[in-house]
């Protein structure tokens, strides 16, 4: 059954690509608007082999990874602390509830003014996007730790730090992985989005630069590259999540 689903999905994707190919080759979509998919694939291959985009790709990946690690570290620790500090948590709750209604990108010019046009503003935007997802999911997971496990930790005379490290955070594991999945997506959006708006390099910058110069041979391959990267990363995280859930009999 699952194999059949995979075949259907592959067929849908294949059909869309084939349709685009036909539309481009027959001229329904003109060459200035879009390249046929086979051309994009070839351009992408050439681009990667030539290495001319390596700097941009590395910069984006680097900044995304930095922002992600920051969001994970700060998010998990803040989540664990807020879970202990009921009062602070209740005070901040409206902020978390409405946080994603705020367009974080609106702060980007301000960050550039303060930190200059380096990597910091981009990392900061990506971190701000990801960290709250991490906090909220950590709290969510910690709320669901069975009381009997907390009692077990006390009977075993674990310190508060050991209790968090060895009992509550592992127990909240599946929720934290959900947070990580979101944080990865947000980190990419934050970094690439800010590069689009204003920066000195990176994949987002190169796409925007290529767009302004009608350079389809650069723009489309880069878009496809971003798509592929996020699909691959997400697939790995989903498998990890799945394995955790299966091990715990939750799926």
């Amino acid at each position: 059954m699952i194999n059949r689903l995979i075949v259907y999905r592959a067929l849908v994707i294949g059909a869309v690509i084939a349709l685009l190919e036909v539309l481009c080759l027959t001229g329904v979509i003109d060459k200035i608007t879009m390249q046929p998919p086979h051309q994009i694939a070839r351009d992408l291959y050439r681009m990667l082999v030539s290495g001319r985009m390596n700097g941009a790709i590395l910069k984006t990946l680097n900044n995304t990874l930095l922002a992600l690690l920051l969001a994970l570290g700060v998010g998990i620790i803040a989540g664990a602390l807020l879970h202990r500090w009921r009062g602070v948590r209740d005070t901040l709750d409206p902020l978390f509830a409405t946080y994603y209604a705020v367009p974080v990108f609106a702060f980007y010019p301000f960050f550039i003014v303060v930190f200059g046009l380096g990597d910091v503003p981009q990392i900061l935007i990506a971190f701000m996007l990801g960290v709250v997802a991490m906090i909220v999911n950590t709290l969510n997971g910690l709320d669901r730790v069975p009381a009997v496990l907390l009692k077990t930790a006390r009977i075993m005379r674990l310190s508060p730090v050991d209790t968090a490290r060895r009992v509550t955070l592992p127990a909240a594991g599946p929720y934290i992985v959900t947070g990580i999945k979101l944080a990865v997506a947000y980190a990419f959006i934050g970094v690439i989005g800010s590069e689009f708006i204003m920066s000195r390099g990176g994949i987002g910058y190169e796409i925007s630069f290529a767009y302004l110069n009608f350079d389809n041979a650069t723009m489309y391959p880069l878009i496809v590259l971003i798509l592929l990267a996020s699909i691959v990363i997400n697939a790995f995280l989903s498998r990890w999540e799945q394995r955790l859930l299966v091990r715990r009999g939750m799926r």
Binding site: P146, A147, V148, L149, K151, T152, R154, I155, M156, R157, L158, D162, R166, V167, P170, A171, G173, L244, R247, R248, G249, M250
Partner: protein
């Protein structure tokens, strides 16, 4: 007396709950002495404060009044060393396999790796889970998970083992067999066992001494000694004394249960 391991004097527990907050007298006053090496059981109607009593002895909560001593020292804010607890709910850690679950409490101890592995292996053999050392709790039945928790408690070599209806979720046959295992473990470890149960036959079969708890606020209203030999198993349920003891427990417990459930049932002709 030196062989009194646990001592409770005039212990009361009052919870403040609800909206508007109101005091709820859950337990007490309770006076109780448990001897070292004794198998002690508490039976009582549901909601009478049995688990509250266990949590007080474990040091998981503080009495509102009165004193609790474990091995001559008053119990403070945290559980003292030397006490192991097996809870009613499944307390196995789902992200660790059986063997890591059992070794969980030993990680910070001063034991060497070899000694630790040895203890874990022994405990797994004792509870009959040797073949499942690398399985995860989700792959095990409820009874097996409960045995993981028992093994996890045993490796710590507690001098007092508290069990809160550990077999509550199991079927009758499994409960009898688990009872046999528990008796065997009790003999081998020489620990004191404090068992909470709502099953009269379980208490009669396992314990040296049984306390009957009243309806809320829980007080210990009757003590029954079974005089079973230390070397016993579930076959004593055929003994004529078994019926007599269970009957005596039920006589007291019936009145208390009626108080809990409501007067109407008891008043019916």
């Amino acid at each position: 007396m030196a062989d009194e391991q646990v001592r409770l004097r005039a212990v009361d527990k009052v919870f403040v709950t609800g909206h508007p907050p109101a005091p709820l007298h859950a337990l007490g006053p309770v006076d109780l002495d448990i001897k070292r090496g004794e198998f002690f059981a508490v039976v009582g109607p549901s909601g009478c404060g049995k688990s509250t009593l266990l949590e007080l002895i474990a040091g998981l909560s503080r009495p509102t009044q009165g004193t609790i001593e474990f091995e001559g020292r008053p119990i403070g804010n945290e559980p003292p060393d030397g006490i192991g607890v097996v809870f009613q709910d499944d307390a196995s850690l789902p992200w660790l396999n059986v063997s890591d679950n059992v070794a969980f409490g030993l990680r910070r101890s001063s034991l060497g790796g070899a000694e630790r592995d040895e203890r874990v292996r022994n405990a797994l053999t004792l509870v009959g889970l040797s073949e499942f050392a690398t399985a995860y709790p989700a792959q095990l039945s409820g009874g097996m998970r409960q045995r993981v928790c028992i093994a996890r408690t045993l490796v710590m070599k507690p001098r007092l083992i508290l069990l809160d209806e550990p077999f509550g979720a199991l079927d009758q046959q499994t409960r009898l067999l688990m009872g046999d295992e528990l008796l065997r473990l009790w003999r081998q470890t020489e620990a004191t066992v404090f068992l909470i149960t709502h099953a009269l036959d379980e208490a009669t079969m396992l314990a040296d001494r049984i306390a009957v708890m009243s309806a809320r606020p829980g007080r210990l209203v009757d003590f029954v000694e079974t005089h079973w030999p230390r070397d016993r198993d579930s076959r004593i349920i055929q003994d004529s004394e078994f019926g007599a003891i269970t009957a005596r427990l039920w006589k007291t417990l019936r009145e208390e249960s009626i108080k809990t459930i409501g007067q109407k049932i008891g008043a019916a002709p």
